[in-house]
Amino acid sequence: MADAQEFLKDFPLLNHNINGRKVAYLDNGATTQKPEQMIQAICGYYGGCNANPHRGAYALSIKATDIYEGARKRTAEFIKAKRPQEIIFTKNATEALNLVAYSYGLHNVHAGDEIVISISEHHSNCVPWQMVAKAKGATLKYIYLEKDGNLSAEDIETKITERTKIVAVTQVSNVLGLKNDVKAIVKKAHSVGAICVVDGSQSVAHMAVDVSDLDCDFFAFSGHKMLSPMGIGVLYGKYELLDAMEPFLRGGDMIEYVEEQDATWAEVPAKFEAGTQNVGGAAGLVAAIDYLEKIGFDRIEAIEADLLNYALPKLRELPFIELYGCDSTQDNKTGIIAFNVKDVHPHDVASILDNDGVAVRAGHHCAQPLHRYLGQNATCRASFYLYNTREDIDRWIESLKKVRGVLGYGA
């Protein structure tokens, strides 16, 4: 595919030499690199439009407000929310999920109720629910996996019950790279009167997302995993739910009236955005959305599929490589590959690949319950994005071939 070469030029970091060579950046599941267009949007904001939005009657502040509220509108369109007010800006997906846990969970889950999540959740979509379950005397139940790594259909059917108040699942697992049929899970949740929280951290940069079609109640993601700056995240929530919820962070801009002992709240979304928000981050997010939509998700999916289909057979040829989540016969595998090199600890693998300028991640990838379930202490993970090339894959595979030798094992 020639596509990636076309985009690569937009990413200054990927054109840099690091330790004498360009990096084959295969840690996009952790964070993506940033296009020049996005970086310029940040500079442009701070160099020409910076002010505290919502708070001033002067021209600059109005400009900043327009940028910020424009970003809200753009984000709503991007994920097909019905109204801009359904978009709450947070600092990252983790804050977005905590907001739901604190403001919805702690007020709507009671003793004896159940919360259902999957065993492949990222800690950010797991530990907040542990907190809610403990605080309220509720039960936290897990959907486990089929042999191929997909969520157990039986568990989805049997664990979501009349007692379930919240179902929280990721749209794409950040370790196994498998896409879940969240639309069906939302339907199941609704059928028992539960709400469904979808973690879109690993999906929203890689496929077209339509929250109205999914009909999910909340949807969380981070800008930095989709070409945007760090420090900006998004919580989508259905208006009626947001409207009925207690605030989370309290302070400037989220109030209506403050008396000495009491306060009333501003309307959604301001109610959930306390203090000065990251307008520069919002400007960057818009530039990233523009960039992604110009390319189009069909093309992005095609690029990632090409890389996946190029890499998998090569990996399968290597007898010392163990793969996780790569056996699904469904058409739901995304550009994330978890693997191990036989006898070699993932950290050693990552260090050796790093020496060849190949960046993969090693560890538990913030998914300890999943790793325990897989019987693995840790794994390596390579994750692709639109600027990756077959050459990156080649460099990765070549470096992998050396690993066992470096540690003194035969091939």
């Binding site: 600890h345 950290h347 050693d348």
Partner: protein, 143 residues
């Protein structure tokens, strides 16, 4: 830095075939050490008698650097006094942190010297020092 400055033969040997990776039946003390972010977890067992580390062994999981480092450490401290063992642990940690570079000073670390280039791999420093910090903790209460 070349890879084989870190992944030396010594390291490979000790990580593939650690001599001291087993339970110690006559252990007088044991101590757990962990690097939660890597998932490394080791348990060091020591037989300390009359102020002397008579035997040392370990169990647990970890990367080649941490496993080799632990095995080398066990070998090094056997027969040493508690004081000496702690001194060596701190010397090793200083070496890996890049604070101590004098070859003469370092000489007594013996095989553990093979790990000195980990000092140039910031992401792996924690792996190399885990066992030695754990040892130091374990021996704090011994005398």
């Amino acid at each position: 830095m070349a890879l084989d400055d870190v992944y030396t033969e010594v390291l490979g040997e000790h990580s593939r075939n650690p001599d001291h990776k087993h339970k110690l039946s006559c252990a007088t003390c044991q101590m757990k050490g962990k690097n939660p972010s890597c998932g490394d977890e080791i348990t060091i067992e020591l037989q300390v008698e009359g102020g002397i580390v008579k035997d040392a062994a370990f169990t647990g999981i970890g990367c080649a650097i941490s496993q080799a480092s632990t095995d080398i450490m066990a070998e090094l401290i056997r027969g040493k006094s508690v004081e000496d063992a702690r001194r060596l642990a701190n010397k090793f940690i200083s070496m890996i942190k890049g604070e101590l570079v004098d070859e003469d000073e370092l000489e007594e670390l013996d095989e553990a010297l093979a790990l000195k280039n980990v000092a140039h791999m910031p992401a792996r420093v924690k792996c190399a020092v885990l066992a030695w910090h754990t040892l130091d903790d374990a021996l704090k209460d011994q005398k």
